[in-house]
C-alpha cells in the first residue's frame, strides 16, 4: 500500500511536471491519444449477472486445456459484487460431472476490436491450481480455427506464483507451449492483495503489455516465428480456470472459493 502510494505520487508528480513542460515549451513526439470506446465498470447490485448487452458465456469444461472446472452462467460463479466489481468465483462443488465450478465470459458477438488499448483492473485469486486470465481471441475463431485466429493473453497467472503474471501471443507456428511472451514479477507485492491494471496497447505492427502502467513486453512481427495474425477483430475473454495443463491441479491446501474481482474493462482507440 505504501509503495503504491509512492508510486502514484511519482506518477502524479511526473504528469504534473509533464503538463508544466507541455504548457511551457515545445512538445515532443506525439504520444498516442486514446479515446474510450467501450467499457464495463461493473456497477450494479450484488448478485446481478454481468450486462448481457456486453457479455456472453462459454458454458462447459476442459476447453482444450484439461481444465477441471465446469463454467456456468450462474450468479454463484459470476455476478456483480455490489461494490463496483465483477466477481468470478471458482467453487469446489460437484456439478455436471466436474469437481469445481467457475465462469468464463466473453464479448463474442457483442463487441470486438482490432487495435487499440485494452485494459482491466483486477484483483486476482490465489492458490495451487488457480488459473485466471484476461485475454482475447480472434473473432474468426469459428472459421479459421485456433491458432490461426490468433490469441492475445493480456494477463495469465498461476495461483501458486502470486507475484508473477504472463503476457503471451499465440498464432500459427507459435502456439501452446511455444507461444511468444514474457513474465512480469511485481517486487515486494502480490497480485492477490489488491487491484492491478493489466493493459495491452495494440497497433498495426506492435503489441505492448503493461502492468500498473509499466511496460514489460513489446512484440512486433519480427519477434514472431510465424505469421502476424493480429490484424483483425478480436473479442475479450475473462475467465477463472481451476487446474489444467498450465497450472496443474489444486491440492489439499488450495482454499475455495477463490474470487477474481474485476473493477473494470475499458477499450480505447487511438485517435491521432
Amino acid at each position: 500500500m505504501k509503495r503504491q502510494f509512492k508510486h502514484i505520487s511519482f506518477l502524479l508528480f511526473a504528469s504534473v511536471a509533464a503538463l508544466m513542460l507541455i504548457s511551457c515549451g515545445p512538445s515532443g513526439p506525439a504520444e498516442p491519444v486514446w479515446e474510450l470506446v467501450w467499457q464495463d465498470e461493473f456497477e450494479g447490485p450484488a448478485g446481478q449477472l454481468p450486462d448481457s448487452s456486453k457479455w456472453t458465456y462459454d458454458i462447459g469444461t476442459d476447453w482444450g486445456n484439461a481444465q477441471l472446472e465446469y463454467d456456468t452462467d450462474r450468479p454463484e460463479n459470476v455476478s456483480l459484487d455490489g461494490d463496483g466489481n465483477l466477481a468470478i468465483v471458482a467453487r469446489r462443488e460437484s456439478y455436471e460431472g466436474s469437481a469445481y465450478t467457475s465462469a468464463r465470459i466473453l464479448t463474442r458477438g457483442k463487441f470486438t476490436t482490432a487495435y487499440g488499448k485494452i485494459e482491466a483492473s483486477i484483483k486476482l485469486p490465489w492458490g495451487q491450481g488457480i488459473w485466471p486470465a484476461f485475454w482475447m481471441l480472434g473473432d474468426d475463431f469459428e472459421t479459421a480455427g485456433w491458432p490461426a485466429c490468433g490469441e492475445i493473453d493480456i494477463m495469465e497467472y498461476r495461483g501458486q506464483n502470486v507475484s508473477q503474471i504472463l503476457g503471451t501471443v499465440h498464432g500459427p507456428g507459435y502456439s501452446g507451449a511455444n507461444g511468444v511472451g514474457a513474465t512480469y514479477d511485481i517486487v515486494q507485492d502480490r497480485f492477490d492483495t489488491g487491484f492491478h491494471t493489466f493493459t495491452v496497447e495494440w497497433g498495426v505492427d506492435y503489441l505492448k503489455w503493461y502492468v500498473d502502467g509499466l511496460i514489460f513486453l513489446t512484440i512486433t512481427p519480427d519477434d514472431l516465428p510465424g505469421e502476424w495474425v493480429f490484424d483483425h477483430a478480436f473479442y475479450i475473454i475473462l475467465n477463472l480456470a481451476v487446474g489444467g495443463s498450465f497450472v496443474g491441479p489444486p491440492n489439499q491446501f488450495t482454499v475455495f472459493p477463490q474470487t477474481m474481482l474485476i473493477d473494470y474493462v475499458r477499450v480505447y482507440t487511438e485517435i491521432n
Binding site: 502510494f5 505520487s9 466489481n85 502470486v162 507475484s163 517486487v187
Partner: protein, 466 residues
Amino acid sequence: MIKNKKTQLIATTVMLALLIFSGCERDITGLPLAPYPDDPDVFIDAFGPGINYQAFENSYYEAIAIDHDVVYEGISSMSFEVPAENDPRGWFAGGALVNPIGRDLSEYDALTFWVKASMPADLGTVGFGNDNTGNSRYTVEMSNIRINTIWKKIIIPIPLASKLTREGGMFHISAGHSDGDGFMIWLDDIKFEHLGTIAQPRANIPTRTITAEVGDSLTSFSGASVIMNVAGEDVSVSMSSNYLTFESSNDTVVAVDSLGIIRLLGAGTATLSAKLGAVDATGTITIISTPPPPEPETPAPTPTDAENDVISLFSDEYSTDIPIDTWSAEWDVADVEDYIIGSDTLKKYFNLVYGGILFETNTVDASEMTHIHLDVWTPNTLSFSTLFKIKLVDFGANGVYDGGDDSEHELTFSSFTNPALVSQGWISFDIPLSNFTGLGGTSHLAQLVISGGLDIVYVDNIYFHK
C-alpha cells in the same frame, strides 16, 4: 479498495498543490511522531540498537557466542552451542534477544534470518514477541524447522503487524539435543522486513468448551495458529491468541471489553468467534458461565456457652479471641478471606483441599475444656461420599512442633454422622474432645486442620468450652 485509491489520489494531489504553492518551505507541525523506534535490525554483525540477550531459565547460560569464522554475510554471526543429552551445563540452549524499550514493528510483515547447523537437526523453536518478562502478549513461534550445514533463510510471518507498536521480544530461540547429540547453530542477519509477499492469513483457535463462573475473566487461549501464504508457499506459525479479536454471541453472558479481556457477566452459554484483523478465524470457544455459588444469607447460630466457660479462637460473640498465627498455613492448599454478614464476620475458605489454622506461638491449654465447637456452612452439593474432616494437633509437654511428643487425631463427618453435613445450611459441630482419641493431651493444642472435599466452607464460632 477503489475508494482508497481515489482518496490517495486526492490526498496526493492536494499535497502536490501545497508543495507547489508553498515552494521550498516545509511545515512539519502536526506530523505524528513515531512513539517507538522502528529499527529493523536484531542481529546483523552485532546486536541491534538497544538489544540484549537473556538466557532462558535452566538453559546452558554460556550457549551463545559471537562467531567471526562462520558467517552468512558481514563479519560475524551469532552461534549457539546446543548441549548434548545429560550435559551438566544445561538441558538446552535458549534465550531471547530483548529490546526493553520496545520497538514499533507495525510496518513489517516478517522476521527473517539465516541459519545453519553443524549437522542436520531440528531447530526446536524460534520466534519473536517473547520479551522474557513472563508477560509477553504477542508471541509467534515456528517449531521443528529442519536445518542443516548449508545456510538457509527462514521467514516467520507476522500475523497482524498493527498489534506490534511496542514490542520488546525481538527474537527467541530454544533448541535441545538431536538424538542425544549436541550441535552448533549459527544465526545471521536477523531482522524484521517488509517483504510485501505475505498474505492470505488463515487463523485457527482450537474449538473447546470452558466452564467458568460469573465474575471471572479470561485473557488468552492456548493453541492459536495461523497459516500465511509467503510468496506462494503456505507457512504455519503458532501465535498468542492476543492477535485475535473475539466476538461474543451473547453480550449479557460474556462480553469482550475494549482491551480484549473476556468477562463473564451473567449465567448462561455464549460462543466466542474470532477474527485476525478482518479475516474470520476457524474454531469457536463455547463458554458455559455458571452462577457463582450461593453464599450464606444468615449468620451462624449465636453461641450459648458462657464466656467464662470458653476459650475462643474466632467468634464475634466472645470478647477475646486467642492470637492465631495464621488462618491458612503455608503448607496448606486453601485460600481464606473474611466474609461479613451484617455485623458478623466469618472465615471463608475457598479452593480448599486442606486448610491449616495455626496457633503454635501461643498453644492452647484446653485441658479444662470438654468440647470443641465450630459452625460450618458450605454451598457445595453433597453426595453420599462427601466428607468433612476436623483434625486437632497437640504439640505435647515441650510445646514445640516435632518435639517427639506431638499427637493428633482427625474426625470425619458425612451426611450420615452426627452432626450430619448439609448443603447451604449451618452445621454446628460441638464435639467432645474425648472423641479425639489419638490426642496425647489437650494442654498444648497448636493446630486445627480442616479438609475432606468441600472446596468452599464458611466457618464461624471456633472455640473450646466446658
